[in-house]
Symmetry: C2
């Protein structure tokens, strides 16, 4: 097989080609795609990048991990609550996190953007730049995409990655395992609560919502350390613990004292009259990792024990049912 020639990398244009305030309708599809693609440098594994009927990737391992997510304006993000670059970072982060939760590392992403014709070109380009910058954190390339008109902004991302050891599924937890958490948890939910009331501080929480910082090294580290099950927290901590318990056929108990109720969460709880614990138990936008390890295993860096796995089914908090808000439903 003769590989096609590689696509040269190119950085973003420092001189925007579109006048200020230009919309997608003004720009036209092909000129805009050219500008978008300039923001997506291609890694060495990309034999053919954006611009043909399909991208062509060199895959070094025999196993590929794949996931896909939709983000809809007004439901998963609001343009008035975060910059276009922030939303780009978030769209990439939540998808990279799905591969992280398998213990994999992301190599390639595709991105579909549906948007109203009056969306400003600057928004689309800044979104793409934020998306590309988040991908660069893990060395991944945006290898393809699609752009079309719709009534509201919809972002569709597919992520591909590789695992160097066996992927860590949701279904491997066993009674006696330790439940552990990596990454901030509840901060983004606190930030979202603040924004929902029309405030902009504490800034650290608002920023945690706008631009999450998933623990990207923790997923492969957990796989290497022998994690028995793993899931990323996108629907809320207790909800995800429930998904893991159900898939594994076990019961999970979360220990309240082990959860970190950081000072900004307590401050927001007090200001909004909310239990800060509800952000930690119900929040999903930080993309923390929840994993189980055999008892006595050395937890990899970044993981803190927060509970136990037992016989039975369901999720408890300190051995009892929790009746607060526990997460996100899509319909």
């Amino acid at each position: 097989m003769t590989p096609p020639s590689s696509v040269p990398s190119s950085g973003p244009s420092s001189q925007p080609s579109f006048p200020p305030g230009a919309t997608l309708a003004d720009a036209g599809e092909f000129g805009l795609i050219e500008e978008l693609v300039r923001r997506f440098p291609q890694g060495e594994h990309v034999l053919v990048g954006p611009g043909d009927d399909a991208a062509v990737l060199r895959v070094r391992t025999g196993h590929v991990v794949v996931s896909t997510d939709l983000m809809v304006e007004g439901r998963h993000f609001r343009r008035e609550w975060a910059s276009a670059a922030d939303i780009g970072h978030r769209a990439a982060a939540q998808n990279i996190s799905d591969v992280n939760a398998m213990g994999g590392r992301v190599t390639s992403l595709t991105i579909g953007l549906a948007a109203p014709a009056d969306l400003e070109v600057a928004w689309a380009l800044d979104f793409a730049q934020g998306f590309a910058d988040e991908c660069a954190l893990v060395g991944a390339s945006v290898v393809g995409g699609d752009l079309t008109r719709a009534d509201q902004v919809v972002v569709a991302v597919t992520v591909m990655g590789v695992c160097t050891v066996a992927p860590v599924l949701r279904s491997g937890a066993r009674p006696g395992d330790v439940l552990a958490l990596a990454g901030r948890q509840g901060w983004a939910a606190g930030g979202l609560a603040v924004l929902g009331r029309g405030f902009r501080s504490p800034r650290v929480l608002v920023e945690a919502y706008r631009r999450p910082e998933p623990p990207y090294d923790a997923g492969p580290a957990a796989a290497d350390a022998g994690a028995t099950a793993m899931i990323d927290v996108s629907d809320g901590l207790l909800a995800e613990a429930g998904h893991l318990a159900r898939a594994s056929g076990v019961a999970v108990d979360v220990q309240r004292a082990a959860l970190d109720l950081a000072e900004p969460l307590q401050a927001v709880g007090a200001a909004l009259g909310a239990d800060p614990l509800s952000f930690v138990l119900g929040g999903g936008d930080d993309h923390a990792l929840l994993a189980t390890f055999p008892a006595g295993a050395d937890l990899p860096e970044g993981f803190t024990p927060i509970g136990t796995v037992g016989e039975g089914s369901g999720v408890t908090l300190d051995g009892a049912a929790y009746d607060g808000p526990t997460g996100w439903t899509h319909f």
Copy 2:
């Protein structure tokens, strides 16, 4: 690496779990996803199918071909013009066609469905069944997806495939090559024109629009036969010829006499007062393949010569510019 256990195949439920008229909001996310996933049997290459953070695929070759597409209700399809199953077939077909145009064969797809909460469950399930049935034509599996609420139906598909010989790019056409076409061309555009006037016949054209039949074997056959460039016709024949000419740095001439103005196209042209040639030159929903081959090459089965490649740039019809409608723009 210990591969996780395979996902068992399962056919669609013969007993729907939802009452007639139930909406997505009635069904709830997780029950609906379970029903959707039952419609997607998993091939042997799928080590982990839908239900975890990501799917895990075994990839036998070192090269993977990837493409992504969005379909938006009111823009790419209308629910009143085609059944849910038809729209599912079309969504799969247009994505499989992108891999076909590289000379590859599809192994795996992901599908994202954003839809209003009042969409009927039956629509989503029939859509999924049509999508699955089209994938089955090429032996591909739907390995993952996402489901969320939006104001209008948006379908986001990503397709992955493999090439057993070098992928055929848009950029390899050389002066002296023969331009050839595989598959029906213009039929879907004729059907769409009929539907747009409120008619339902000729049925053969309406069906061609509702459920295209791309020439799936022609892509790999062209690659095997040494095609120098290939593209799938989704933006219109002349428009795609233009993309190919530009990417290859050549001029393309299409010979009018070589184009098949089938009887139903002539009938519709007469009835609507349209030049039937405009359907053939401007239509894009059949997903025909346009390819170039070295002069004197034996064209693979299904391909008909329709023109020539020369020095220069641009596309001509019988050596002259064509001033009719030539295709589709996205903004």
